[in-house]
């Protein structure tokens, strides 16, 4: 599967201050995200974390750990006209879009009470 994060020019900025182990963990999570309307996946997640006022790795971990099993999905099958779908569980939600090879990539992750 092609890895969008591999050619991301914002990676150096994103990795700044993290240990090698944390960088490896971040790289793993970035592969789960779609670029959306941003210039790159790294630019996207940095902007998400800044806007939400949360530490980047913590935010990526929360999105990664969102368990779709048992979540309400809207629409129940397929995607809206704009290609998105949301998984909702408790006060968390994960908005996704379809990607090649039958997987879904994360557009954004949110908590209703954040």
């Amino acid at each position: 599967m092609p890895n969008e994060a591999a050619s991301d020019p914002y990676l150096d900025q994103l990795f700044e201050g993290y240990t090698a182990t944390e960088v490896a963990e971040i790289q793993q999570y970035l592969a789960e995200w779609e670029v959306g309307t941003y210039g790159s996946v790294a630019q996207s997640v940095m902007d998400h974390a800044e806007r939400k006022g949360v530490e980047l790795l913590k935010y990526l971990r929360k999105a990664h750990n969102f368990n779709k099993r048992g979540a309400i999905r809207v629409p129940r099958t397929g995607y809206r006209a704009d290609g998105s779908a949301v998984y909702r569980k408790g006060n968390e939600f994960l908005i996704v879009r379809p990607a090649p090879y039958g997987v879904e990539k994360i557009v954004t992750y949110g908590i209703n009470e954040e």
Partner: protein
Amino acid sequence: MVQVQDKLAVQREYIVQLLGQLTVDYQNTKAERRDIAECYPNSEEEFTFSEELELLTVSIRGYASQVRETETVKNCELAIAHLQQLRVLDRPVIAQFYEEERSRYPQIQSYLWRLDYLRLLVLEYLQMQQSVQPLSA
């Protein structure tokens, strides 16, 4: 041509400033967003207000972030068409909220105005850029 380039530079500066302001505004809506999430039951048929707002936010901020970092966007023509479709009040759940509840949530109301203004600024910027560089991506 020079005048247009100057206008583009000024417009980009507005976009950068507004993007920063919207980061602060978003954080200032926290209490109101929490209240909305508690007061409005989730529908299993459509996105909630919070989910729709989040998706609009990242879609518009994405283009604005590209302009901030690179002075342009990838696939400019597609971006212009997409931005025209991202009108904040075109989303039924947001339009309904705005119609019925905006006076109760002044921070959210202000955030919606500014977000749509950012969309318009980026759209105008890209259209202006295309007028001087019609063949650029």
